[in-house]
């Protein structure tokens, strides 16, 4: 997965709240799976936390378990009371930190 960490964020205003949708390329390997050909364990490589900051203030935090699918998707709402920027940050168990942002109108 050469494009690990490549992310997309969408914000859609719906009245006084906005719906945030975000996807990120990531294998989300649990460490429990084996390579079918070699029989070797595939090392764990998964996102542990996700954070959303809206104009510098933390508005969303997630802690993820092994069940989260590959190329994970997450969605939540924010009270979009001022124009600005929503910044998403994903951190994985190998020290990878990935960010992507979207404008809030």
């Amino acid at each position: 997965m050469a494009s690990i960490g490549k992310a997309k964020v969408k914000v859609k205003k719906m009245g006084d709240v906005a719906e945030v949708k975000a996807v990120i390329k990531h294998p989300m390997e649990t460490g429990l799976r084996k390579n079918k050909k070699t029989g070797e364990k595939i090392p764990a490589h998964y996102i542990e936390t996700v954070e959303g900051k809206y104009n510098g203030k933390t508005v969303f935090q997630a802690e993820w378990g092994a069940a989260v699918s590959q190329n994970p998707f997450v969605s939540f709402y924010i009270k979009a009371d001022a124009p600005g920027e929503l910044v998403m940050t994903w951190k994985d168990n190998k020290g990878g930190v990935f960010t992507e942002s979207a404008k809030v109108k």
Binding site: K10, K21, V23, F73, S75
Partner: protein
């Protein structure tokens, strides 16, 4: 030679088929699940259609004599022939084949003439582009041309998806009317892929038609063909679309559904504001709508059969911006009673001409009635299962419980055309593999739960997987894992840990055996004459 128009018995006539107690100004016409049958066919309705969880004894879970009694039809009449399998062969010989696009067209034209074309709305619930050789090789183009000519004004999909996402999108471009499916979202953003509803103006009335695709297409058909589309019943979204349509001024709101009738009946009891559900998928031919109460009113649930065998007509009266009255008839399309529309007949001839050598090939003859429809094996399925076991050298064969596929009367030739009506899909390949007795049981249990789960929202339509070689007992009231028992093969109990050779087709995964029609063709050519007694595989229903 084909019997003439006068051949049909009793007082059945074209005028009789057109008879209707007109109401209001607006007319909805509906057909569904034509499965690409351009020409008239024989189609025997099921003898077994079991309802579970309170559905027993009500439409669509009544068959045969019970059906006639329930709806007040005489045995031996045109309704008995159209709606049931009672005296099937005798009545089929008397009334002749059913459906066909040229005959359907004449019927639609006659109603448009009578009511005024601007007051009539013709809708199709889908399974339109699949089910024949020509639809398969033209990837649905033949049916697009035929439906455009017929003047269809909106459709909802299911088997359409099996041509693959790209082909579906290209096909939609060629339709003269909208392809409606509010419940399909993309797997990346979970946003709508197709148009949700269309607002029509007919008879001075605003009619919103919401399209509902078959909710379980990605489970019942190979998901790899449309990997980026996700579906589901999406009851809340149906309610949102209804509200949206009403806000936009809809006076009549219709769900053009491919849910299957049991799902529609449950949905109608929970969603408010729907006037009519015009449904398909389960191929139920129900002569009158089921009136379903919900917290704010009543929804009429209709199901219009299959194979162009029926045309639904509903006249609607509108007053003060609301539907206030209706009349309904599910009109049997008895081909011999209806003149063929010349233009449509010409188109059909043109469509079939390049393929006549293949489809007219006669591979054998049947001495017994061949049919598919019913909760358990039909005789056409038995023929396919026997072909698989013989040609693939397997002990057990599995064939999907599709509800399409035409019937052949005793004495008819078995043509490739007929075989394709039973097999023409985009994943026709056969497989042969070893399975343990336990694995075979798991498959039967899984399909049985998709069919007999007491919660309609967990039912996927279709019938029980057809089996060759195997016999079993089924306990309908049990839960998954406990329904199937007493499995036996050649008089011996099936052992859970023993390996058996199993063949089949229409696999969800990719397999590379010969297409099933070749297997059936070879088998019939070797046997020359086919005669099958029904009911071998089912040892009992508890």
């Amino acid at each position: 030679g084909a019997p003439g128009l006068l051949r049909a018995a009793g007082k059945a006539s074209f005028d009789e088929l057109l008879k209707f107690n007109n109401k209001g100004k607006l007319t909805l016409l509906h057909f569904t699940d034509c499965h690409a049958q351009l020409l008239p066919v024989y189609f025997r309705e099921p003898d077994t259609n079991i309802g579970v969880g309170g559905a027993a004894g009500n439409a669509p879970h009544i068959t045969g004599k019970d059906f006639l009694k329930h709806f007040g039809f005489q045995p031996g009449g045109v309704e008995a022939y159209a709606y049931t399998m009672t005296d099937y062969v005798k009545l089929a010989q008397e009334f002749g084949p059913v459906g066909g696009f040229a005959h359907m067209t004449s019927l639609v034209k006659a109603i448009r003439d009578q009511r005024g074309a601007d007051n009539v709305l013709l809708l199709d619930s889908g399974d339109t582009w699949q089910g024949s050789y020509t639809s398969m090789v033209t990837k649905g183009q033949d049916m697009i041309d035929a439906c455009n000519l017929l003047g269809v004004e909106g459709m909802a999909p299911h088997w359409e998806f099996t041509y693959g996402a790209e082909q579906v999108m290209a096909n939609i471009e060629k339709l003269n009317y909208p392809f409606l499916a509010h419940n399909v979202v993309d797997t990346e953003w979970e946003e709508p892929v197709f148009k949700a509803f269309e607002m029509y103006e007919k008879a001075g009335t605003k009619i919103a038609v919401i399209g509902q695709a078959f909710p379980y297409s990605p489970i019942a058909n190979p998901r790899r063909m449309f990997p980026k589309w996700s579906m589901g019943i999406q009851e809340d979204a149906v309610q949102e679309r209804v509200n949206e349509a009403r806000e936009q001024g809809a006076q009549v709101v219709v769900l053009l559904s491919h849910n299957g009738m049991d799902v529609d009946l449950k949905l109608a009891s929970r969603v408010v504001g729907l006037d009519v559900i015009l449904g398909g998928h389960t191929h139920d031919a129900v002569p009158q709508p089921t009136q379903v109460k919900n917290p704010e009113g009543v929804t009429l649930v209709c199901n219009s059969g299959s194979n162009t065998k029926f045309l639904s007509r509903m006249d609607i009266e509108v007053a003060n911006g609301r539907m206030t009255g209706w009349n309904y008839r599910l009109i049997p399309v008895i081909s011999n009673l209806i003149p063929a529309d010349k233009e449509m007949a010409g188109l059909i001839e043109k469509i079939r001409a390049p393929h006549l050598k293949e489809i007219n090939t006669v591979v054998g003859k049947t001495d017994s009635l061949l049919y598919r429809r019913g909760n358990f094996n039909g005789t056409f399925d038995d023929l396919i299962c026997n072909a698989l076991n013989t040609q693939m050298e397997s002990e057990v064969s599995l064939s999907p419980g599709f509800r399409w596929g035409v019937s052949l009367l005793p004495g008819q030739d078995i043509t490739m055309d007929a075989i394709y009506t039973q097999t023409a899909i985009t994943y026709p390949n056969t497989y042969r593999r070893q399975m343990t007795g336990e694995q075979i049981k798991v498959i039967l249990e899984d399909v049985a739960d998709n069919l007999f789960n007491p919660d309609p929202y967990r039912q996927q339509g279709g019938d029980m997987v057809r089996v060759g070689g195997l016999r079993y007992k089924i306990a309908l009231g049990e839960s998954i894992g406990k329904r199937i028992s007493a499995m036996e093969l050649n008089g011996k109990a099936v052992e859970p840990n023993k390996q058996y050779w199993v063949s089949g087709w229409a696999s969800m995964g990719e397999v590379d055996g010969p297409p099933v029609w070749d297997v059936v063709k070879k088998h019939v050519q070797e046997k020359k004459r086919i005669s099958i007694e029904p009911g071998y595989n089912l040892k009992g229903i508890v």
